[in-house]
Symmetry: C2
Subunit: 204 residues, 2 copies
């Protein structure tokens, strides 16, 4: 299922690069960062290892692309979760529900796919948080814009709000993904942090 079929000819895979990134993502999902390797990816897509060097300069570069792919996947997951939120008659409640949904999606992703989450946020040079996770950043800021427009969040908080929300939720997600929190405590922990974030943004 993972291996793509070769075209009729022996040569020219056709979509080697994207196939490699996808195969890399799946290897990470199965066995973490450790499972990602040039040779393993090559085997998965039915190609010899040096072929990958036509598309990636090194394993590190492949890792960077896999990491980027996972971040995009995360962003789409958050967006889909937000779009599933039922519209409420109370528009403020609706906005809050959507905000919670994207935060919950972020944490759920880390909880259910800790290996992917780990690789998604691996050190990568010279990228600000916005570029780093474009879609997720954009979704978060939409929510905050709505909060301000509805008078739920004071304007002077608008600048620091995304940073505070992001670091809280990211920290929570990281700790859960690392299994640094006992499973029994996760539920309580999540609620506490999410409530805290919401309070910090809305109050006063």
């Amino acid at each position: 299922m993972l291996t793509l079929q070769r075209k009729g000819s022996d040569y020219h895979h056709g979509a080697l690069k994207s196939a490699a990134i996808l195969a890399g993502r799946n290897l990470v999902e199965g066995g973490g960062l450790q499972a990602l390797g040039i040779r393993r990816v090559a085997t998965q897509i039915g190609v010899t290892a040096p072929a990958l060097y036509r598309h990636f300069a090194s394993l590190e570069e492949l890792l960077a692309e896999v990491s980027c792919y996972i971040r995009a996947e995360m962003g789409e997951f958050m967006m889909s979760r937000r779009n599933q939120v039922k519209k409420s008659r109370d528009i403020k409640k609706y906005e809050i529900d959507k905000f919670r949904a994207i935060g919950d999606a972020y944490v759920d992703f880390a909880d259910k796919h800790p290996q992917l989450f780990e690789v998604a946020f691996i050190h990568h040079q010279n990228q600000s948080i916005g570029e780093y996770n474009e879609l997720a950043w954009q979704i978060l800021n939409e929510s905050l814009d709505n909060f301000v427009a509805l008078g739920m969040t004071p304007k002077q908080k608008r600048e620091t709000a995304p940073l505070l929300a992001w670091s809280s939720v990211h920290g929570l997600a990281t700790l859960i993904a690392n299994r640094a929190i006992a499973p029994a405590e996760v539920k309580f922990f999540r609620a506490a942090v999410m409530d805290g974030v919401q309070d910090a943004l809305l109050k006063k």
Copy 2:
């Protein structure tokens, strides 16, 4: 400097295990997780690779011990920073200053030693956050106990307070260590998150 001298005899290093953990820590500091290897550690401490297998079952086990060592190092760094805070006549201000000091130390450690920070919080099974980073956890809770005792933090917040503070600061530290925040924005970002945490704990 890193390599320990062997005893007079050719055999029996004497403190191979602790020497290996220290050497591992230093390799991580220099080159990240990637630089940690059985053979490299063995070379550093002047021993052949298989010798390490008398003390560690695998590279992964060595990594776990190095990770634990770094967490202890972090805890001591936080404690030392907190103890350097000047006593103030205003006891509440003194407590706040100490609280900020331990948070700042946490983030400083991540900022100045991103490689160590990364390895410190690598996935490790079945450890709650308390056991995971005992000393830091204890220091944080001392501060919070003092806050409550002085009436600065309401009692009903006492349970969720460490979780909220930890995840915010940990998320901030992680994002900074991963260089997901542009260097120019780090200062502002840090201040915003630390202020947010302080507000969340003290107000009302």
